[in-house]
């Protein structure tokens, strides 16, 4: 037996904490700015880079990847080293990870206000930054798994399983959702069209919540809660069930973001069922965390760390109850596109993520600087400010969301819409947005107090690193079971057999489901009999214990669990022709002008406030027109369905108003819609469309299946000019002079095309607005 002294790399932990605090404050400040703009649109100061629709992606990306990202890396680096009794494998990789991640954040902070965006929510960063994210994530993964390989603890504690799940799943999600065809360094198109793009996006979007905002934080909870309570986790058994069921079920839930849309109904139902089922594992983790405090509840009164961790778990419980509730189709019909969803997201982000970050910072910083927390009183004040802030925020948005949802549905006794003007429904909830802003500012104030408290703590001490002495076993002193031994265990063979059988029997007829079920029952019976009959060796390690000692094997099992849902939902939707129409004989691609207009639409982030998806609900069809159908989106790269209606749906906007209306609306929204909180996009009348890119964009889209002919590509500039001239001439008749090559002309061309595919002839616009030319042929 050899004694070895291990000194942990806590410098990296200190760096990630500092970055988490700084970027947390920035993310919340940007949130407060855009919350102000919702009430007073003038708060953008007329600067394109500060407009709501460009800043909102900056807020979400900063909150998720900069604040929670840095905070979770701090927790992971701190706890992994201590659970493995090993220093991180490579100081160089730790440095590359830290600085690389901060560079990515800076790149996001520059590009998003510039309007460089893919328009896919929480994945807005353009392809060069996507590549950088992949590289840095791989660096993190290598460093992490290398550390596991060098560990001086035999078993992997449950927290480490959650970290493995995070690393593996985020890699898969990010790569698949970022598959895009580059046009320039700052522009790309998603390879997936319309419906498929929507499914892939929300498979990613929902699981970014699951595997970036939940699983790593649960791992951190499983480490820090026992440390703070000075008690082991309530039930290790429950943690195993919690882990496997959570990682397996979460991945199926993405389609609940697309209920009542053009997504195939079977996928919607599958997403809803798994979302409701998710309530059980989520609360399994909540109960396990809460009961870890058994016998130590008195600490809740005195210890700020415990206070934040318990409140975080409470908010986790609340938001993981609310999430399944919102996934039920009938509830979703009312809540979707409203502020209720924003309230739900913030109870998770501010309550679960924010409080977990604060609790772990208050735990780590005094220890990392060899001193005590500077002010417990300030931490108390922070806690109550933040709690009051969240409650104000969330309750205001619950009321706002439900009110607006009900107003959208409300009918007069003769069946007409009770609130036909969308602006009416916005003005009604404006006071609640003021309450939301107050709550947000209160939370931000508490956060800044924490930043001050942690800074004073750090200044009062000196940076110190943790050190332990470990006893290292002689190599091969204890025989290790081989991978071969593991894969010949009956449990593994049972799973493998079932997979193979379901593969071969799975597709022949309707009876195959029954056959698979019968075979599985027989196999389960055999396995059960073997299990009952086997001689029990009370000293031998259990099967899961052996798996815990094999990180690679553990990761493979995990990969099977997390890929199952994605494969079952994505592959049929993407590859099976019967799932979603791939081609539409009557469909025509966007003309060069419409395509350029669409790019302006995505650059300005119009999807942030306007959906392009009329759901199969009466309140939608009565207000906006015929419901949206899947074939209408086959040339949409990326899809623009949106997730929130701060303005009305635009899918049947084409032909609804003359060109002059659109021009006036974009220059000054209140000139056509009194009371609107939409910002002016007057700069689109100044900016020119880069004509040299038209052909390149069409060629890129050709590669992903949009049927532009080479003739259409060659004639792109002429077709553009011809269609632009009709709009310019129409505007000139109304006394508006605008050059043909300005972005506003292209944007009007795109808006007039919306929902007017040949399969759905919409009424022609008034005489003042001739129908735009169609197609790119």
């Amino acid at each position: 037996m050899e004694q070895r002294v291990i000194t942990y790399d806590d410098t990296t932990v200190r760096r990630f904490i500092a970055a988490g605090v700084i970027f947390g404050a920035v993310a919340m400040l940007v949130g407060a700015i855009i919350a102000t703009q919702m009430i007073w649109w003038q708060a953008n100061l007329g600067v394109p880079y500060l407009v709501f629709s460009r800043l909102r992606p900056l807020h979400t990306n900063a909150a998720i990847f900069a604040f929670v990202g840095n905070s979770m890396f701090a927790g992971i680096y701190y706890s992994t080293q201590r659970l493995c009794k090993a220093r991180m494998a490579s100081d160089l990789l730790s440095k590359i990870h830290f600085w690389g991640w901060q560079l990515i954040i800076v790149a996001a902070a520059i590009t998003l206000p510039l309007g460089i965006t893919t328009s896919k929510e929480y994945a807005e960063l353009e392809w060069p930054i996507d590549v950088a994210i992949t590289v840095i994530w791989v660096v993190f993964a290598i460093n992490f798994f290398w550390t596991l390989a060098r560990r001086n603890e035999k078993n992997l504690y449950v927290a480490l399983w959650f970290y493995i799940a995070t690393i593996v799943t985020i890699a898969v999600l990010h790569i698949v959702n970022s598959l895009e065809i580059p046009v320039t360094l700052t522009k790309s198109y998603s390879i997936f069209p319309g419906v498929q793009d929507a499914l892939v996006q929300w498979w990613y979007g929902h699981n970014a919540v699951a595997f970036f905002l939940t699983t790593p934080i649960l791992g951190i909870m499983y480490y820090f809660m026992p440390k703070a309570a000075e008690r082991p986790v309530y039930s290790y058994r429950l943690s195993i069930v919690h882990f496997w069921s959570l990682v397996f079920m979460y991945i199926w839930a993405g389609p609940h973001h697309l209920l009542h849309t053009a997504l195939p109904d079977w996928a919607q139902s599958l997403g809803m069922v798994f979302s409701v089922a998710l309530w059980a594992p989520s609360w399994g983790g909540l109960i396990n965390g809460m009961l870890t405090l058994r016998g130590a509840w008195d600490k809740l009164r005195t210890d700020p760390v415990i206070k934040f961790l318990v409140a975080a778990l409470t908010f986790y419980g609340m938001s993981t109850f609310e999430g399944p509730l919102l996934s039920i189709k009938s509830v979703n019909a009312l809540a979707h596109y409203t502020d209720w969803i924003i309230g739900h997201v913030h109870s998770g982000a501010l309550g679960w993520n924010g409080f977990m970050a604060a609790g772990t910072f208050y735990w780590m910083v005094p220890r990392l600087f060899g001193t005590k927390l500077y002010s417990k009183k300030a931490a108390e004040v922070h806690f109550w400010m933040a709690t009051a802030g969240i409650i104000l925020y969330v309750v205001a948005l619950w009321v706002a969301g439900i009110s607006q949802g009900l107003m959208w549905k409300a009918q007069t006794p003769d069946g007409a819409l009770a609130y036909p003007s969308f602006v009416e429904t916005i003005l009604a909830i404006r006071p609640l947005w003021m309450v939301r802003l107050t709550g947000g500012l209160l939370y931000l104030g508490g956060f800044l107090l924490m930043a001050w408290n942690l800074t004073r703590t750090a200044l009062a001490g000196k940076a110190v690193d943790g050190q332990v002495t470990v006893t290292v076993e002689e190599p091969h002193a204890v025989p290790e079971p081989s991978a071969g031994w593991l894969v010949t265990r009956p449990g593994f063979l049972f799973v493998l057999g079932a997979v193979v059988l379901s593969f071969f029997l799975g597709g022949a007829s309707m009876m195959t489901g029954v056959k698979v079920l019968v075979v599985l029952i027989i196999l389960a019976e055999v396995a059960w009999l073997w299990f009952k009959a086997r001689p029990r060796d009370t000293t031998a390690p259990g099967w899961h214990q052996l798996v815990e000692g094999k990180p690679l094997f553990f990761t493979v099992l995990l990969l099977f669990a997390v890929l199952a849902g994605g494969i079952a939902q994505l592959i049929p939707t993407i590859f099976a022709p019967s799932a979603v129409p791939w081609t539409g004989e009557k469909q025509q691609p966007y003309s060069p002008l419409e395509l350029a207009g669409r790019d302006v639409y995505t650059r300005e982030g119009c999807y942030v406030c306007h959906s392009q998806m009329i759901r199969t609900l009466q309140e939608d069809t009565q207000r906006y027109g015929a419901y949206s159908r899947p074939e209408e989106f086959i040339y949409d790269h990326p899809f623009q369905w949106g997730s929130k209606r701060t303005g009305p749906d635009l899918h049947r906007e084409g032909g609804k108003y003359p060109n002059l209306w659109h021009y006036s609306h974009l220059m000054d929204p209140r000139s056509t819609s009194p009371g609107s909180n939409m910002p002016s996009f007057a700069w689109t009348a100044d900016y020119k469309v880069d004509q040299s890119l038209l052909g390149r964009k069409m060629i890129a889209l050709q590669k992903v299946g949009v049927p532009y002919s080479n003739l259409a590509v060659d004639g792109a500039r002429d077709a553009y000019r011809k269609q632009a001239d009709t709009i310019v001439a129409d505007l000139a008749k109304e006394g508006v002079a605008v050059p043909w090559d300005r972005e506003v002309v292209a944007l009007i061309g795109y808006l007039q095309r919306l929902g007017r595919g040949p399969q759905m002839p919409a009424p022609l616009p008034t005489a003042a607005a001739p129908a735009p030319a169609r197609g790119g042929q």
Partner: protein, 58 residues
Amino acid sequence: MYSEFFRAHHLIDLPLAGSVLFAALFLGIVAWLFLERTQRFEQAARQPLDDDERSVRS
């Protein structure tokens, strides 16, 4: 190849087979958990608490 494979399937076959398979696996894990020795879980649960960490200047 993928298209041909999936053309032969009803859309619900794979999700159904996958759901049944993993439900069976889940029930198997739960059954195993409650038959496993308690002592081993108690040891594993103590892992975050078993340290004799000291601090040294960075």
